[in-house]
């Protein structure tokens, strides 16, 4: 197709938005796949309501999918949109504040009638004026009626025809960005293989949308985004929950211990359990327990009996699991608990992101009850950190909490697929026969301080463990005061020894120190990195120190902090990591930048804050 006014862009942020039944997640995913396939850097974030089907046409029922693609590696799904597809007035209303001044807005004109406007709570007949966006480039496309017209001969009923309107909208976007449709057509054929008439209708709607955009000359210019210069290799798209599940499976393969996951469904972590449940082909055993407590207790039982055991949850579930986590600490069994954090407290904001479970992970148990705390920081590196959490748990005979969050769990990005040969072996300290003098369940190796793992069913290793304080060597019950002191001390020392086995902390930016050090942890990495990179391009003296290993902290942490004049700790909570750093390294002054809106940082608010601190 001839292209007259084609403009090359480096970056585009596009958001698909509509009713939660409008297929916006699917539309966004298909756009993402094609963009990734064309070699762009991509990052995505789905944003859906807590209700499955909130009242149609209302702002609370709006479901969105945002993606950011560019001619370079993309670190965040973007803050403000270049293109918004709004399938109804509510979608426009919900997203108007996220539009760039130069944004193109594509609306389904058919839904902008009196009824639709009223449902979305507009007071006048001109929603654009009401939202203050009347000067924007708004494409009034009668998407529903054009889809109906295009599919008049499809033989499908009206409901099925209207369902294809998302493909019409996608077709418009494909024209706008000069995207080929083959990849999407192949997907449609696969997805609707058993219903060829539905597949045909979807493909036809896609094409009709594309042709509509072309024929009506709706856009003054179309755009192209060149492929990014990405590392060579085979890529796939992956979200954080899938990556976490696969990282656990990888740790299971490398350790030779079968994977067991006892869990209870909870947003936004459920997808990990679902992903593991699929993998019986790799011998994964999953048990959907009767509650969160049974989830972790079945995992503790499986760990005792020799599995690599994990339990997946979110904040409220972590609260319920706390007593059992204490048992795993006392019994010194390998276990990984992944908490995909969401807005809290209580039920809070189940579908929104937050980093407010850090203190709970570190301290939320009775007694002095230390364990290892780590965090994934991008959708794809959840694979790596799930693997490492498994390695540490299995080799150090210790529970590990992996703190992900809703943002990276649901967000996706292209991932260069690693070869398992790049990953280290995992060697758990399994004992297979009783040494001379008898088996001592709590005898430890000197380096890691890990006790031995004696699996039930192994001859001559019969022993008893439990939640009562253990004798320092025999593991039998001991109420001796001095013994208790030794055990409390060694449980902490054992966690701190993990610092010898994790990599040194890295700094993005000035290695020799400077004006401002931005400190973050977990899922805020992409935003903090983008903001820091942007300011460094403007020659500002700002660097980033972003943590994945939280307890213990990397050994060179204080050394890094000491080189900077100002430290600002940025987190999506009220300052939990900052307070933790004050406990660990009290000699530094920690400034804070915190946000508790259930949303990620925006790069704009970060750069504004950093600029203010640099003054």
């Amino acid at each position: 197709m001839e292209r007259e006014n084609q403009t090359a862009l480096e970056d585009v942020v596009i958001r698909f938005s509509g009713d939660s039944g409008d297929g916006m997640q699917m539309t966004g995913t298909l756009f993402t796949d094609t963009s990734a396939y064309l070699g762009n850097g991509v990052s995505t974030f789905p944003d859906f309501p807590a209700e499955i089907r909130a009242p149609q046409g209302t702002v609370s029922g709006v479901s969105g999918f945002q993606l950011h693609f560019g001619s370079h590696k993309v670190n965040t799904p973007g803050d403000y949109c270049d293109v918004l597809v709004a399938m109804n007035p509510a979608a426009l209303k919900a997203n108007a504040k996220w539009l760039k001044k130069t944004a193109t807005v594509i609306i389904d004109l058919d839904s902008f009638n009196d009824k639709g406007l009223a449902k979305a709570g507009f007071k006048s007949e001109n929603p654009f004026e009401e939202l203050g966006i009347e000067g924007y480039n708004i494409i009034h496309a009668p998407i529903t009626s054009m889809t109906k017209e295009a599919l008049a001969d499809s033989g499908l009923d009206n409901k099925s025809v209207v369902k294809c309107k998302n493909m019409f909208a996608l077709g418009i976007c494909y024209f706008l960005f000069n995207f080929p449709s083959e990849h999407t057509e192949n997907f449609i054929d696969k997805k609707f293989g058993k219903k060829p008439e539905v597949a045909e209708a979807n493909k036809k709607a896609l094409k009709a949308g594309y042709n509509y955009a072309h024929n009506t000359h709706a856009f003054a210019s179309t755009y192209s985004v060149a492929p990014a210069k990405l590392e060579k290799g085979v890529y796939r798209s992956i979200n954080g929950n899938q990556a976490t599940a696969w990282g656990f499976i990888a740790a299971s393969e490398k350790s030779g211990r079968p994977l067991f996951c006892g869990s209870y469904p909870i947003t936004p972590a459920t997808h990990i359990l679902e992903e593991l449940a699929k993998r019986k082909d790799l011998g994964v055993k999953t048990l959907q327990a009767e509650d969160e407590i049974a989830g972790i207790c079945t995992s503790i039982g499986a760990s005792y009996a020799g599995c690599f055991a994990v339990s997946t949850t979110s904040g409220p579930g972590l609260s319920l699991k706390s007593e059992a986590i204490g048992l795993a600490v006392m019994a010194e069994l390998p276990l990984v608990i992944v908490d995909v954090q969401r807005g809290g407290p209580s039920t809070g904001l189940p579908t929104k992101t937050e980093q407010s479970d850090l203190m709970q992970a570190l301290w939320g148990r009775n007694g002095d009850c230390p364990l290892v705390v780590m965090a994934g920081s991008t959708p794809s590196n959840c694979f790596h950190y799930a693997f490492m959490a498994g390695k540490i748990a299995l080799e150090h005979m210790i529970p590990v909490i992996l703190l992900n969050d809703g943002f990276i769990a649901n967000g996706s990005e292209p991932w260069r697929i690693p070869s398992m040969s790049e990953y280290p072996e995992i060697v758990p300290p399994i004992v297979t026969e009783a040494p001379d003098g008898g088996f001592m369940p709590y005898a430890r190796d000197e380096e890691r301080l890990a006790r031995r793992w004696a699996l039930p069913g192994t001859k001559g290793l019969e022993h008893r463990i439990g939640g009562l304080e253990k004798d320092f060597l025999k593991g039998s019950v001991s109420h001796d005061p001095i013994n208790h002191q030794r055990m409390v001390d060694i449980r902490r020392a054992k966690v701190e020894r993990v610092a010898d086995y994790i990599p040194e902390q890295e700094v993005v930016g000035s290695q020799d120190g400077g004006e401002l050090l931005v400190v973050g942890w977990g899922g805020t990495y992409g935003h903090l990195l983008s903001a820091v990179n942007q300011l460094r391009k403007e020659s500002k003296d700002v660097s980033l120190c972003h943590f994945n290993y939280i307890y213990p902290l990397p050994k060179n942490t204080a050394d890094i902090f000491s080189k900077f004049k100002k430290i600002v700790v940025c987190e999506l909570n009220q300052g939990q990591f900052a307070d933790y750093l004050r406990m660990q390294h009290q000699q530094f002054n920690y400034l804070q930048f915190n946000k508790s809106q259930g949303l990620p940082f925006t790069i704009l608010e970060l750069t504004e804050k950093f600029n203010e601190l640099l003054k």
């Binding site: 796939r236 407590i293 204490g326 690693p418 001859k459």
Partner: protein
């Protein structure tokens, strides 16, 4: 071939048993240590396959006294821990020790779900109708009106009948015994071990300190034979010192009759069918209470059904047979991928 000949002494640990003198737990420990050599011999289980898991409470100290693998868990969660052990390694013979508070109050949810799943674990429920370790508060099996430290004016809660709960949760095995009836307990435990699936053996146990003689009105030595009935599959439901009392069906319920009186003959007496999948009669037996009825002991229900652990193993095997993905490398490269050159 495993050499599976053991004696009770092979299952005694070196730990000093710290239950109160006269506590019913001693007798249950004795019965278990007698049952395991039989279980090992009959099922060809070697010593290291026995694993005991418990919750919290007096009875939950049990694993420390057994020379087997043992895990003393946290309050109420023994069923969940035991489930995990069994799923991880189905070859193990997994035993769960719980009291009435542990299994039916704080652990009630895990108890019914372990039974519903029919996971092959053997639950021994020590029922003394009281919280002993916390020194005498009422439990979910305490009799209505029971005066305890937390019910100084008598409880106003209806108690559970554990067997009823087991049947309600679709249980496949339920037996009941008395702590003092060591042989009956042992027989029940051997049957429980041989049963494929979740088994519950309730042992009515005496707490000499906080609830002494709670079962006495039917368990007392002088009248035990007249006030209890020990059921055996395929045998008529006859009881009494003189073996002259029996159970018959009348209308929709059970009735106690005396053989030779009122025209009742031995052939009229119901024959116990523990293997009947229909829980109707089992439910009536479970709910028999003195003085209207004798209290039922022995294996009341023992029916075959698919177990969770076996179903899971089979599912894994079946999926693996035709699996296209056989390694993590293959998993990572499955589905949609693209190459950047």
């Amino acid at each position: 071939m495993e050499n599976c000949k053991y004696t009770a002494a092979d299952f005694k640990s070196d730990q000093e048993v710290k239950w109160c003198p006269g506590c019913g737990d001693h007798a249950i420990l004795n019965a278990v240590q007698k049952a395991l050599p039989e279980v090992a011999a009959e099922l060809n289980y070697s010593h290291e396959r026995f694993t005991f898991v418990s919750g919290i409470g007096c009875s939950s100290r049990f694993p420390y006294y057994m020379q087997t693998f043992g895990f003393h868990g946290i309050h109420g969660r023994a069923a969940a821990i035991a489930t995990g052990v069994k799923v991880a390694n189905p070859r193990l013979s997994v035993w769960q020790i719980s009291g009435d508070g542990d299994a039916l109050a704080i652990g009630g949810n895990h108890f019914i779900h372990a039974i519903r799943r029919n996971i092959d674990i053997n639950i021994i429920l020590f029922n003394n109708e009281i919280y002993g370790l916390t020194k005498g508060q009422y439990s979910p099996t305490s009799k209505l009106g029971k005066i305890t430290k937390t019910s100084p004016f008598g409880t106003i809660e209806h108690p559970f009948t554990p067997g009823e709960l087991v049947l309600g949760a679709r249980g496949t095995f339920y037996a009941r015994s008395l702590d003092v009836e060591v042989n009956t307990t042992k027989e029940c435990l051997v049957a429980a071990a041989k049963h494929d699936g979740a088994s519950v053996t309730e042992v009515l146990q005496n707490c000499v300190i906080f609830n002494d003689k709670t079962h006495e009105e039917f368990a007392g030595k002088e009248w035990r034979e007249d006030r209890t009935i020990t059921l055996r599959h395929g045998e008529p439901m006859i009881f009494g010192k003189n073996r002259d009392k029996g159970l018959v069906l009348e209308g929709l319920g059970l009735k106690v009759v005396t053989i030779g009186e009122g025209g009742w003959k031995e052939s009229d007496i119901l024959v116990h069918d523990a293997h009947n999948p229909n829980p109707g009669v089992h439910m009536m037996l479970v709910n028999m209470r003195y003085p209207d009825y004798p209290v039922a002991l022995g294996v009341i229900r023992d029916v075959a059904d698919k177990t969770y652990d076996r179903a899971l193993e089979e599912q894994v095997e079946n999926v693996r047979k035709d699996a296209k993905i056989k390694s993590v490398d293959e998993l990572l490269r499955s589905g949609d991928t693209w190459e950047i050159k």
